[in-house]
Amino acid sequence: MTHRGRRVAGTLAAIFCLVWLFPVYWMVNTAFKPRPEVMTATPHFLPAHPTLDNFVTAVGQPQFLTNLRNSVVVVTLTVVASVVLGIFAAAALSRFRFPGRRTIMVVILAVQMLPGTALLIPMFVMFNSIDLLGTYLALVLAYVATVLPFSIWVMRGFFVAVPAEVEQAAQLDGASTWAVLTRVLFPLVAPGVVATGIFAFIAAWNDYLFAYTFLQDQSRYTLPVWLASFTNPHTGTDFGGQMAASVLFSLPVVGFFLFIQRNLVAGMSAGAVKG
């Protein structure tokens, strides 16, 4: 490519980065500003007196620790359930040929594309009638419904990548199906398990719709609902505190995204992380 072409491309890239990074930069910038600098007619592009006060405010909110614990419990249970159930199903759908396999795969894909309300409404009605609304179990069931299908799909991709010879060799040595799975295949797909677990984490950690609908009691909120209802009763919306809370809430997700970036495109197209 010509020298000039390269310069034009570099300039475009710089402009793109500035525009695309701006919202994130503005969130972080606001989070570190003391309140008088947040609410100014002329915006400060860097905090003149950087402070951690907003983070202290966010973490110090009466419900923060409770809601963090709710999130951690629900997300952990979802991740464990989806990965454990998913790995066996993925093994069956990749290492064996049996009638009905294609149908199952199609159903798994189709379930991914359902609008949120298609599961939300019936689950709300069902959980309401058996007094399950507002419990961890209700949320875990809802999240497993959205996470398990793509967990199976993503892990299946990792199983498919393992050459059949590996399995055949173990079978020739007289290993049982169970031994082939647990001793040979599962260790080989371990990276896939990690990626899937992270996708499951992100989906459950980010969910707002189910948590917002199922949970009435503030002490039951998960972090997304806590974040969206973040206001300071004394001073109206505290944007500094809200942005600090957003930074804290987003940090694990951004970290995980960068960590699994190689698998992102694959997981995303299975509906793993909805935009």
């Binding site: 793109f16 994130v24 298609a118 409404i121 199906t177 707002y208 970036q261």
Partner: protein, 324 residues
């Protein structure tokens, strides 16, 4: 960079081609009960948490389930009443039209920008390429609840940076107190910007993964034949990108059609019901008005409309060589 070429497959592996099972092993496996016991735990759970609710959704849409029912548990079977009333409701048709138009606008915006960024990535040196990729991933990674709050702050009347920047431009007069959520066009614009901002990374990275697989000789040959850069892109690159592009467009349509959080957190479907797309309309019907039966009917109709697209997606996936 994702090394993936086949869109739907994990592990960054090349297209999966499971070795053809030998005749013997195929016959042996047909009797193998292993898939059954491997599948049944996940199958049972999925039946309970997805298939049963979908059946129940259908059932609910044939009842007058409402706020009272939540406490008394009593409801009546009303047949197709919810559906006939829904189809006679102008608010539903308005919402459907809104959804179609807004989805088209979001998909067009994010796919076009995504194509541009994907192409830009192929023209960059290593450092810029890496920088743009990281920026894309960071924007993509932002949880949409957080990014919606950031948006509200960016577009906040009084102290928001967007109003300040518009004010500096000077062409719109004094924009300091411009309220974005209270005006239909502005509410749409700010939500559109948010959705496009978050959708571009996936599209750009997916397309770029496919674009790097276009054999350079083809482009060289076109250039030697005197084709300009635009013609090379249009004739050679786009032709190779077509299958990936199609999948990306279908997925974008499905996702954008289903958008809820961002609209809800920015405008609540307002002002009035100006931004109440089908997702918001369903939610308001079922959980604000608590006409759950009616909300279920809207949700069934929404799902049926989407089903056509989903079928198209799965068909294309199969065609692109995905072995189910």
């Amino acid at each position: 960079m994702p090394a993936t070429t086949v869109l739907p497959d994990a592990a960054g592996a090349s297209p999966p081609t499971p070795p053809p099972p030998t005749h013997r092993s195929r016959r042996r496996r047909r009797r193998d009960p292993a898939p059954l016991w491997l599948l049944s735990p996940a199958g049972l759970v999925l039946a309970v948490v997805t298939l049963a609710p979908i059946g129940f959704l259908l059932f609910t849409s044939f009842t007058d389930y409402n706020q009272r029912t939540l406490f008394t548990g009593r409801y009546a079977y009303v047949g197709l009443d919810q559906y006939s009333r829904l189809l006679a409701d102008p608010a539903f048709w308005a919402s459907l039209l809104r959804t179609v138009l807004f989805t088209a606008a979001m998909v067009a915006g994010s796919v076009l920008i995504g194509m541009g960024v994907s192409h830009l990535l192929t023209r960059l040196g290593r450092i810029w390429r890496y920088t743009v990729t990281v920026v894309l991933i960071v924007a993509w990674a932002m949880p949409n609840v957080a990014s919606s709050l950031v948006w509200n702050w960016l577009f906040q009347p009084g102290y928001g940076i967007v109003n300040w920047a518009l004010d500096q431009l000077g062409i719109f007069g004094d924009t300091t107190d411009l309220n974005w959520a209270q005006d239909p066009a502005r509410a749409y614009l700010s939500i559109w910007l948010l959705i496009v901002w978050q959708a571009v990374p996936f599209i750009a990275l997916t397309l770029n993964a496919a674009e790097t697989q276009v054999p350079p000789e083809y482009q060289e040959a076109a250039r030697l034949d005197g084709a300009g850069e635009l013609a090379v892109y249009r004739i050679v690159v786009l032709n190779h990108l077509r299958p990936t592009l199609l999948l990306v467009v279908i997925l974008s349509v499905i996702w954008d059609y289903n958008v809820f959080n961002q609209i809800w957190l920015i405008s609540r479907g307002g002002p009035g019901d100006a931004t109440a797309t089908l997702g918001v309309f369903t939610y308001q019907t079922a959980f604000v008005g608590f006409q759950v039966g009616r909300g279920a009917a809207v949700s069934v109709v929404t799902t049926l409309l989407l089903l056509g697209l989903t079928a198209l997606y799965i068909r294309n996936l199969l065609r692109s060589g995905e072995d189910l």
